[in-house]
Amino acid sequence: MLKGFGNFLLKELKELLRDPKIFLGMIIVPLIMFPVLGAVMSFSVQSAQESAVKTTVLVVNHDSGESSTQFIAFLNSSLRVFVVNVSTIEDAVVLLPDYNASEIIEIPSIFSQNVTAGMAVQVGFFSVFSGTGLFEGVGSSIVDTFVSQFNRYVAPDIVVQEKSAIIKGKIVEGVDPQTLSSLMISQAIAMPITLMILLSYSMQIAATSVAMEKEEKTLETLLTLPMDRFAILMGKLSGSIIIAGVGAVAYMIGFNYYLGSFSSLVPAGTTYDLVSLGLVPSLLGYLLLGISLFVALLSALAIAVIISSFAEDVRSAQSVVGYIYPLIFIPSLVLMYIDVNTLPLAIQILIYAIPYSHPIIASKAVIMGDYLTAVLGIIYVSAFTLVVMYAASRLFATEKILTAKLKFRGLRRSRKPSDTELQ
């Protein structure tokens, strides 16, 4: 045993555990955050399973034979099947919202004839692609499973699906929605990950930058200079945005290679032109997405600046800013897996209330041409940002920027001045 090790270790543990910033940041926050994340994952899987069970399929039956009736009955044994009397698939697409369905099966007039003759028959399978999350393809895959089961009962490969996607209400023939989902996985992951990295990096930079001024004792000098104090705030925010932006670009270049690994999920030789499918944001979409990201970033930085103003040194500032991370990580992870509209109302409200959810919501919305959602998000986050910016500017305009301190016992602000203030 090393001489003095036990005594020293005891001192270290006391010192570290009694530091409320470490205690909260390293122990309490993970104890809260990870169970919440676990609950999110569990909810995602559960809702995916439920959505599989609840899969509603509209059937357009052009065949009047017995086999098609059997096929429909087979599907109906596990899925919610509605046979609709329409002559074209386009008419059925219009009916999808009425039945809360996202899948259509079109049975050709030769179905029974071919099945009876033991010849393969193609059925049309149309699935709505909405780009809402990683579990989006569940409905499509569950139909696949039942068709395979039907084939096992009747004859191998007797029923063959000809898959098409319904994108923004239009039928795009020959596009497998599941493969499309796999291709779009990078977009589903990229935005939340980018947002998490960008916001957490830039918040750390902003917090460090403000705390450095305090730690290096340069803030007092700065505040007595003949300059607008709002300029100090804006300088801090802009500097952090620029550095974080550069960092995010570097990160995304590296991350892009990582995302390349997901291409293994796409069947070999499958290539879809996402631009021609309308699954790439338009110029307006990119603009809205940029604005959404910018206002969210600005509000995050302003919060970081405010919080770090209460810290006395860099380490404290970084710890304190860490408490904001669950507000960034949780909605990012939730929205990565789940369509926000499928969540219970209370959770939906919570997700919409967190400003950092909106760039992710906007990224999905603009791809699907839903600009209103993106605009409403921008308005909300801008209003939130204005309030936070106003609070930050007030803080910089007063002596609070120097005297404010965070009292961790009860997380209340202390007004007790330090010895140096009293000198």
Partner: protein
């Protein structure tokens, strides 16, 4: 010609409270133009609080302070144009060189690149750091950093330079150098200096007048020599001890 001089700093009935703690209590003070005025007292006496109020960093709880006739609360931005403040233990930006730091500071007052360069050269001369000004500030010793910061506070020839413990933590030689800088600069450029120190012997040699501060109150004020005579003391330390009833 002393009677033509303006009042550089006028503090009237100045109090400052932080919650339940009173840092300054009914402080009255007049600093005349071009004098070196020292606030002296022990740690926690309220010297820094007073300097921070004069330099527009803190708001008075009651009373007022005027700098060359301008109220430090209502006309704070105007006041900031004519003063510089050197906080105790102030630092420079560690990743900027001394030269870059001086340039950064000079740009707030200069109107052209040429003027910026002139100011920085002046500062370089004041601090005497020579080629070391090209090194990052994080490589400087405490003494070098302090000389850089004193030069920063004086280089723009402010009407009022507020120096909080200008020789704090410096060894004898560096302290001497900094004191000489202040003395010379005040003489050459008619700068008014309001400084604080808990080193009473140092202040004795540097200041024209001093105010002894204890527990937020001024307990004695005057020229060092006059105070020593008044309290029959050999130095200001003795004066202070007698005034606060320590001796």
């Amino acid at each position: 010609m002393w009677f033509n001089l303006e009042v550089a700093v006028e503090a009237v009935d100045l109090s400052k409270r932080f919650g339940a703690i009173t840092a300054l209590e009914h402080l009255d003070l007049n600093v005349e133009e071009t004098e070196i005025f020292g606030l002296i007292g022990p740690n926690g006496a309220g010297k820094t609080t007073a300097l921070r109020i004069v330099s527009t960093l803190l708001l008075p709880s009651s009373g007022y302070v005027k700098v060359f006739g301008m109220d430090v609360v209502r006309e704070a931005s105007e006041v900031r144009k004519i003063l510089t403040y050197l906080p105790e233990e102030a630092g420079a930006y560690p990743n900027l060189s001394g030269w870059e730091y001086l340039e950064f500071m000079a740009r707030f007052t200069s109107k052209s690149k040429e003027e910026t360069q002139r100011i920085v050269k002046e500062a370089a001369e004041i601090c005497g750091l020579g080629e070391r000004l090209r090194s990052k500030a994080k490589t400087y010793s405490k003494g070098m950093k302090r000389r850089l910061l004193v030069a920063r506070a004086l280089m723009t020839k402010p009407k009022l330079a507020i120096l909080d413990e200008p020789t704090s933590g410096l060894d004898v030689l560096h302290s001497y150098h900094v004191r000489e800088i202040i003395k010379r600069y005040v003489k050459e450029h008619n700068v008014t200096v309001l400084l604080s120190s808990h080193n009473m012997l140092e202040v004795e040699h540097l200041c024209n007048r001093v105010a002894l501060v204890n527990k937020g109150k001024i307990v004695a004020m005057g020229k060092p020599q006059e105070l020593q005579e008044k309290f029959s003391s050999a130095n200001l330390e003795e004066v202070f001890a007698k005034v606060v009833g320590f001796a």
